[in-house]
């Protein structure tokens, strides 16, 4: 055992002495190498979402804007006192609306045809009058190629005035059919 230990020691001394001679010949690098530390992860802000519209939302808003533009573009149809037939001077407006609602941009929307009245007339009769006005316009639009299935009608009677003064000009403005588009 002692002999083994002695031999190992001598061998070790021989090896170490050999290595020391070699290390002298090795060139020292110009810049000392330093140990690379692991990068510290920065987690703050992880998971923060950008507040903005998704593609879907943006297209919804664009659709809504388009709808409002078409609604604003549509011409109102005016009626005579106590009447629900379309006046000759209103026919160009109906033609215009029919073309507008048949445009490719407008075809994706449904149309609510709303009948309105002035303040004269009784409670029920006025609502029926508004309904007949809406029906007249719907039928006129159907004849001009607007799909009847896209249109619904409703009467708001005298509940939706655009003018509240007690003048003949004001009453004339309130006897009308207007349109609301529905997605």
């Amino acid at each position: 055992m002692k002999r083994v230990l002695l031999c190992s020691l001598c061998l070790g001394v021989l090896v170490l002495s050999g290595c020391a001679k070699k290390s002298v010949e090795v060139e020292t690098p110009s810049t000392p190498t330093t140990t690379q530390e692991a990068a510290t992860p920065v987690n703050e802000g992880e998971g923060i979402q950008t507040i903005g519209q998704t593609q879907e939302q943006m297209s919804e808003e664009a659709k809504l804007q388009k709808m409002k533009m078409i609604e604003a573009e549509a011409k109102k149809i005016y009626f005579d006192f106590d009447k629900y037939n379309i006046r000759p001077d209103q026919v160009p407006n109906v033609d215009y609306d029919a073309k507008l609602f048949n445009l490719p941009d407008a075809k994706e929307f449904k149309i609510k045809v709303e009948g309105n009245c002035d303040e004269w007339g009784s409670d029920e009769y006025n609502y029926a009058l508004g309904l007949k006005r809406a029906k007249s316009v719907k039928e006129a639009l159907t004849i001009r190629g607007v799909d009847a299935g896209r249109m619904s009608i409703i009467s708001y009677g005298e509940s939706n005035p655009v003018c509240t003064e007690h003048t003949k000009e004001c009453w004339a403005k309130n006897r009308r059919v207007e349109f609301e588009l529905i997605p």
Binding site: E119, G121, E124, Y125, Y127, I153, N160
Partner: protein
């Protein structure tokens, strides 16, 4: 010749004077009433209003000649008979809050001729806002004690829809003077309220969203039930006596016609088939017939039709626009436009006709008189009168040939029922 002429003129004058005398005599025939206020510790404003309500109720009952003086007294004091010499009745009242802070009205009514107390009663109300009903109940009981005709309309609720903004209308319940008002349906377009029963516990109304929907509301349970919906328009115009059938104006095919809806079977029966406008159906003649408004002649006027038959009968032969009516038994009250000015002020008068005779009576003389509605007694008609830019709530007591007007400060009324 001159003497003869003078004699002739004098005799005309004599007849004219006689006529005046006769009217005065008739007015004097009504028993006279004085009121004593014995209120001590209630706000002056409520008390003043209550006094005015008592005077108003007595006037509208049409059974009394009312002294408008507000006399003061202590409730327990003996009656000063000398002060009220020549008067028939004394109403002494006092308002007070009880231990639960509820408003009470104590009333004592004396027959001044016989020196007897004919009514002593205390009324208590849980919601102080409803103080108007204290006065209405006292005067109702006074009429009952004297055996006069029923004046239960004093205690009735009125229901109306009023516009609050474009496409917005609320439904409000009030007393007949509109002193008490409570909004019961708010938000959206709520129209055409119609009492569902004689007790005025439930009502129908139409709500317009995408489609008109008819609802039934129980005001005491606070519940709401959907009855039916329709395209275009939907109105409950009348309810049968037993409350099981409704007369509706509907437009399921975009065409306003009158239908009967059976609430028990759910069956819907179309009654009118005209391609123009048929609205405002009301039952008459034991619900065998209906009265309705139609534009069959090119303008709205009143027609009658036996339920199930094809024939239509014209009821009114005058006026250029008779677009609103109400019925009681065989009687129809309607509003008729007397002038034909499409762009200026028009006169709308109320008329009363019978479906079984040639009877016709004009009820108003000027202004715009609309929304006539019979009270449950059939003797009183409620209506809205517009004059200039103001409007008022009118009452006509048919039997007594009297009418009364209350100023309205509720905005534009859409529809009313009583």
């Amino acid at each position: 010749m001159r003497k003869l002429l003078l004699l002739l003129i004098s005799s005309f004058w004599l007849f004219a004077t006689d006529l005046t005398l006769e009217i005065v005599k008739e007015v004097n025939a009504l028993p006279s009433v004085v009121i004593e206020d014995a209120t001590v510790d209630v706000e002056t404003l409520i008390n003043r209003k209550l006094f005015n309500l008592l005077v108003g109720d007595l006037e509208v009952s049409a059974h009394f000649q009312v002294d408008h003086t507000r006399n003061l007294a202590n409730f327990s004091d003996p009656v000063n008979y000398m002060k009220y010499k020549g008067k028939d009745f004394l109403i002494r009242y006092r308002l007070f809050y009880d231990d639960f802070n509820k408003l009470n009205l104590e009333g004592a009514i004396y027959n001044l001729k016989s020196g007897t107390k004919i009514l002593v009663k205390r009324y208590r109300i849980s919601d102080n806002d409803r103080f108007a009903f204290l006065a209405h109940h006292l005067i109702f009981d006074f009429n009952q004690v004297l055996g006069f005709n029923d004046v239960s309309f004093l205690k009735s609720f009125v229901i109306f829809s009023k516009y609050t903004a474009p496409k917005q209308a609320d439904i409000v319940i009030s007393d007949y003077t509109l002193t008490y008002q409570k909004t019961v349906v708010h938000g959206g377009l709520n129209l055409f309220p119609k009492w569902a029963d004689k007790e005025h516990k439930r009502f129908y109304y139409t709500q317009i969203k995408d489609k008109p929907v008819l609802y039934l509301v129980d005001i005491y349970k606070g519940t709401r039930r959907k009855i039916i919906e329709s395209e275009g328009m939907l109105v409950c115009s009348d309810v049968s006596d037993n409350g099981t059938k409704l007369l509706l104006t509907m437009a399921p095919n975009m065409q306003p016609d009158i239908y009967i809806f059976d609430l028990i079977t759910g069956e819907l029966q179309r009654v009118t088939f005209y391609p123009g406008i048929d609205v405002n159906g009301h039952f008459v003649e034991n619900e065998r017939k209906i009265i309705f408004v139609s534009d069959r002649l090119g303008y709205p006027t009143i027609f009658a039709k036996r339920i199930g038959s094809r024939a239509v009968q014209r009821v009114v032969y005058h006026g250029r626009n008779n677009s609103a009516c109400s019925t009681f038994g065989d009687y129809v009250v309607y509003s008729s436009r007397e002038t034909n000015n499409a762009f200026g002020p028009n006169t709308f008068n109320l008329y009363l006709v019978s479906t079984t005779s040639d009877y016709i009576r004009r009820l108003t003389a000027n202004g715009v008189n609309i929304f006539p509605r019979f009270a449950s007694d059939g003797e009183t008609i409620l209506y809205i009168k517009e004059y200039g830019r103001q409007s008022g709530l009118g009452l006509i007591r048919l039997k007594y040939n009297k009418s009364y007007l209350y100023p309205l400060s509720v905005g534009k009324i859409q529809s009313i029922d009583w």
